[in-house]
Amino acid sequence: MIKVQKEDFDISKEIEALASSDGSIGAVSSFVGLVRDQDSREVSAEALKSITLEHYPAMTEKKLLEIEIKAKSRWNIKSSIIIHRYGRLEPGEKIVFVACASKHRQDAFDACNFLMDWLKTEAPFWKLEESQSRKNWVKKRESDDKAAERWK
C-alpha cells in the first residue's frame, strides 16, 4: 500500500494492520526516516529549523507502486506499506515509513532495505532545508546511488 500525505501517522497501527492481514505472517521489518536537528552539510552544519518536502504527485505514486511490485516479485512478502510525507516538517518529525511483512524474517529485512534504497533514488521528492542563516536544497548523496546499485 502507498500513502503520500501531509499528515503524521501512527507506526503501531500501521504495523498491526500489516501483521493482521495474514495469519502466516511471522516477521515485520520496518524503517522510519526522521528530520535530523542539523542541516545536511558535511562541514559546518547548522541547527535546522525545518525541511519542506516538494514532490511530483502523479509520478511519486507511480514510482512507489512500481518499487513495491518489484519488491514483491523478488522476496516472499505477504504485504507491505510505504508512507511518505510532504510539506513542512520540523526536527524529530517522521518523513518516511516502510514496512514489509513475511513468514520468515530475512525476506522482510531485505525487502524493506531494498524499498528504502530504491525510494531514495527513484521517488521524485526534494528536500528544502531551512536553518537560521539559509535555505538550501539538499544535495543527493553518492552513497544512495551505490546503495541502490546493490540490488541490480
Binding site: 518523513i95 533514488t121 521517488a123 526534494w126 536544497w137
Partner: protein, 83 residues
C-alpha cells in the same frame, strides 16, 4: 505540451508549469532544453548544468535523446532527495 519544473529549477524559472504547442524543430528532450535556454535568464540559469538535471516524460525517467510528442507531459528536476 505540458512542462513541469521542480525544486530549484522551479525557483530559477519562476513557474512550476507551462503549456504550449511543441515547435516542429524540437525532436528530443535535448532539443527542448536548448530551446528553453533561449527563453530568458531564468531558464539559462536553471539549465546551466544539464548533467545534474533529470527528465521524466509521462511519469517515466528518460534520457535526453528521448523523442517528444506534443501531447507529452515533460518534467525537469534535480536528483531526488526524499526518504
Amino acid at each position: 505540451m505540458k512542462i513541469l519544473y521542480f525544486a530549484w529549477l522551479r525557483q530559477r524559472i519562476g513557474t512550476d508549469t507551462e503549456e504550449f504547442v511543441l515547435p516542429n524543430e524540437i525532436q528530443t528532450v535535448e532539443d527542448l532544453i536548448n530551446w528553453l535556454i533561449t527563453r530568458g535568464p531564468g531558464y539559462s540559469d536553471a539549465f546551466a548544468k544539464p548533467e545534474v538535471i533529470r527528465a521524466a516524460v509521462n511519469l517515466e525517467y528518460v534520457n535526453f535523446d528521448h523523442s517528444l510528442k506534443n501531447e507529452d507531459e515533460v518534467a525537469f528536476f534535480p536528483p531526488v532527495t526524499g526518504g
